[in-house]
C-alpha cells in the first residue's frame, strides 16, 4: 500500500561530512515497507525544486523510518535545512525491494557511497530469513564517509572496507574487494551504489557464476510508474520489456536483465 503522508521530522542530524539522516514519523510507511524500497520526498513546500526527491528507506520500524542522504544539489541542500518539528510530505513506500531466495550459500552486500542506505535493512532481513549475517563490503571515496559500519558490526556481519584513497581498509574499488572475497555460483550479491560500480560488480558476478541484485538509480519525475521517465534498458528480448521503469519494476533488478554498457545512464 502506497501512502501520501505529511510526516513530522523527528531528527535530521549530520552523520558524516555532507551526509545526514532524516528520521520521520510515519507509521503507515514504516509498517508497509521492506528493504530496498524507496520514497519520494518534497525537499521544500515551494515550487523550487519542482520535483520530489527519491530516497531509499533506510531504517524502519515502529512509528518511524529514516532516509540517509548525501547533499549533492539544491534539493538535498534544502532537505539539510529541515528542522525537527517541521513537516515533510512523503510518498511511499515505492518500488520493489530486494528479494531473498533461500537457495544460496553466501550472501554478500556491496554498498558504495550513499548506496549503502538500503543495505542495513537488507542485512536484517537476511538474518531473519536465512539465520546468518551476510558478508558486507563497504566502499567509499575515503574513510570519513564510510557509512553504517556499526549497524553491520552490531548484527555480526563480517565487514570489509575499501576506499578509493586507501584511507581505510583495502585500497581500491568495491569490485576489487568483491573479487577478493571469491564469490561463486552459490553466492548471491546485492549491490547499491554508483552505476559504474554496480556495472563492475555485475561483471565480477558473471565471471564467477554468481547472481546479483542491483538497486538502480534514475532521474525520476513521478516515482510511481506513471511518467515513463525513469526507464533503463534491459537485455530482455520482448520489445515490451526493453525499457523498464526503475521506480516500478525496480529499483532492484536481477543484474543480468540490465544493459550495463549503454550510453549515458543518468548518473555514472
Amino acid at each position: 500500500m502506497i501512502h501520501l503522508l505529511d510526516c513530522k521530522v523527528l531528527s535530521n542530524d549530520e552523520v558524516a561530512p555532507g551526509h545526514r539522516r532524516l528520521v520521520l514519523d510515519g507509521k503507515a510507511i514504516a509498517e508497509d515497507t521492506c528493504a530496498g524500497q524507496f520514497c519520494m520526498l518534497e525537499s521544500s513546500p515551494g515550487l523550487q525544486p519542482f520535483l520530489r526527491r527519491p530516497m531509499s528507506i533506510e531504517r524502519f520500524g515502529g512509528d518511524s523510518f529514516s532516509v540517509l542522504y548525501k547533499i549533492v544539489g539544491e534539493g538535498t541542500r534544502l532537505l539539510g535545512r529541515i528542522q525537527p518539528g517541521d513537516t515533510v510530505n512523503v510518498q511511499g513506500p515505492l518500488g520493489n525491494g530486494f528479494s531473498i531466495p533461500k537457495e544460496f550459500k553466501r550472501y554478500i552486500l556491496v554498498g558504495g557511497g550513499i548506496g549503502i542506505a538500503p543495505l542495513p535493512g537488507l542485512a536484517q532481513a537476511l538474518i531473519r530469513e536465512t539465520g546468518t549475517p551476510p558478508e558486507v563490503i563497504l566502499a567509499a571515496r575515503s574513510r570519513d564517509i564510510l557509512l553504517c559500519q556499526e549497524d553491520f558490526t552490531r548484527m555480526n556481519c563480517p565487514v570489509f572496507l575499501v576506499t578509493d584513497d586507501g584511507s581505510a581498509g583495502m585500497h581500491g574499488f568495491a569490485s576489487n574487494a568483491l573479487e577478493a572475497r571469491k564469490p561463486d555460483k552459490n553466492t548471491l550479491v546485492y549491490t547499491c551504489g554508483p552505476m559504474i560500480m554496480m556495472g563492475a560488480v555485475h561483471r565480477i558476478c558473471m565471471e564467477n557464476g554468481s547472481r546479483c541484485q542491483a538497486s538502480l538509480e534514475a532521474n525520476m519525475a513521478c516515482g510511481d510508474g506513471v511518467c515513463m521517465g525513469c526507464v533503463v534498458e534491459t537485455t530482455l528480448q520482448e520489445e515490451f520489456r526493453r525499457m523498464v521503469r526503475v521506480c516500478h519494476e525496480g529499483p532492484v533488478f536481477d543484474s543480468r536483465d540490465i544493459r550495463w554498457n549503454t550510453g549515458t545512464p543518468a548518473h555514472d
Partner: protein, 311 residues
C-alpha cells in the same frame, strides 16, 4: 450559498467538472487510484495510444529545470490492444469519463485509432496529439517537424480523423508556433469539437560537467509552472477567435492557476506534471475551484470562461 454547478460541456462531452488530467501525466488512470478516487475527475485523459506498443526513447528521459521539467519519453505506451484489454476495464468499472489521446504516423493511423476506440467503447472523447516533440530524432529533424506547426496539415489530419469518428474530437496543439490562432482555426475548420492547448515547449538542458545533453534525445518538451504564462496567453489568443471550446493546460498546479485558464477563455483544464509532484493535484484543483466559486458567489462555473475583466 447553494453548491455551485461545476458541470461543463467540452465539445459534446458532458463533464461533471472542468478538470481532467494531461495525457502522459496520469498513466491509464489506475496508477493514481491509490491516492484518490479518479472518477471524481471531470475526465481521465490517458497516455497517448498508438496502434502498436512503443518502447519510447532511450534514457535519460527527464531532466528538471527551474519550476519545470523536460521530458523526452517518446510516447512509450502499451498500444491500443493492451489498452482496450487491460487498462480500459478499470476506468469503465470506476465509471470514469474517458478522453483517449491518440498518436499515429499518418492521418490514416489516427483515423484507425479513432475508429477502433469508438467501436470498442474505449473512449468518450478523443484527443489527437498532433504536437508531440519527442518522437522525432533531434539530430536529424529539419524544418517544423510537428504536424501542429502547419495549419494546412492540422486541417487535413483533423478532417481525416473527423470522418472516422462521431466521438467528440479534440486537437492538441503545440506552442512552438508564431501564432496559435492559425492551427487552432485550422482544427476548427477541419471539424474539431475543441482544441487542447498547450503541449510542451521545445527545450534543452545540458550537464556542464559532462558537457552532454541531460536527455539522450538531446531536446525535450518543457512543462510545469514555468510555462504557465505562455499557455494562458495562447488560450487567450485562441479562445477569442474560435467558436469551439478550448481545453487549457500548461503548468497548472493550483486552483488559482486553473481559474486563470478559464478566465482567459478555456472551458476545461488539464492538470499535467503537477500530478508528479502532488499525486492528488487534480483533485485539489477541483476542490479549490469549488471554493473559489462559493467565495465569489459564482453559481455556475461556466460563467468564468472568458470572464477576464479588461476594464
Amino acid at each position: 450559498m447553494t453548491e455551485p454547478s461545476l458541470h461543463i460541456n467540452l465539445g459534446g462531452l458532458a463533464m461533471k467538472n472542468p478538470v481532467t488530467v494531461a495525457s502522459g501525466t496520469f498513466g491509464y488512470g489506475s496508477e493514481y487510484g491509490h491516492y484518490f478516487d479518479v472518477s471524481l475527475l471531470g475526465a481521465v485523459t490517458v497516455k497517448s495510444l498508438s496502434l502498436k506498443p512503443r518502447p519510447g526513447n532511450r534514457p535519460p528521459r527527464i531532466s528538471e529545470t527551474p519550476a519545470g521539467m523536460l521530458n523526452a519519453i517518446g510516447l512509450q505506451n502499451v498500444g491500443i490492444d493492451v489498452y482496450l484489454k487491460e487498462k480500459l476495464p478499470y476506468l469503465r468499472e470506476k465509471n470514469c469519463t474517458i478522453i483517449a489521446n491518440i498518436y499515429g504516423y499518418s492521418p490514416e493511423e489516427y483515423a484507425e485509432l479513432a475508429q477502433r476506440l469508438e467501436k470498442e467503447g474505449g473512449a468518450d472523447a478523443l484527443e489527437a496529439n498532433l504536437s508531440c516533440p519527442n518522437v522525432h530524432d533531434a539530430k536529424n529533424t529539419c524544418g517544423p517537424a510537428l504536424v501542429a506547426q502547419s495549419p494546412q496539415r492540422v486541417k487535413e489530419y483533423t478532417e481525416t480523423i473527423r470522418a472516422a469518428t462521431s466521438l467528440p474530437l479534440y486537437i492538441k496543439l503545440s506552442p512552438n508556433v508564431a501564432d496559435i490562432r492559425e492551427p487552432a482555426l485550422a482544427a476548427q475548420e477541419g471539424g474539431a469539437d475543441a482544441v487542447a492547448l498547450i503541449n510542451t515547449l521545445l527545450g534543452m538542458n545540458i550537464d556542464v560537467e559532462t558537457r552532454k545533453p541531460c536527455l539522450s534525445n538531446i531536446v525535450g518538451g518543457l512543462s510545469g509552472p514555468a510555462i504557465r504564462p505562455v499557455a494562458v496567453k495562447m488560450v487567450w489568443d485562441a479562445a477569442r477567435v474560435l467558436n469551439i471550446p478550448v481545453l487549457g493546460m500548461g503548468g497548472i498546479y493550483t486552483a488559482d492557476d486553473a481559474i486563470q485558464f478559464l478566465l482567459a477563455g478555456a472551458t476545461a483544464v488539464a492538470v499535467g506534471c503537477a500530478s508528479f509532484r502532488r499525486p492528488d493535484a487534480a483533485l485539489q484543483v477541483i476542490r479549490g475551484m469549488r471554493d473559489y466559486c462559493i467565495r465569489h458567489g459564482i453559481e455556475d462555473i461556466q460563467k468564468l470562461t472568458g470572464a477576464l475583466r479588461l476594464q
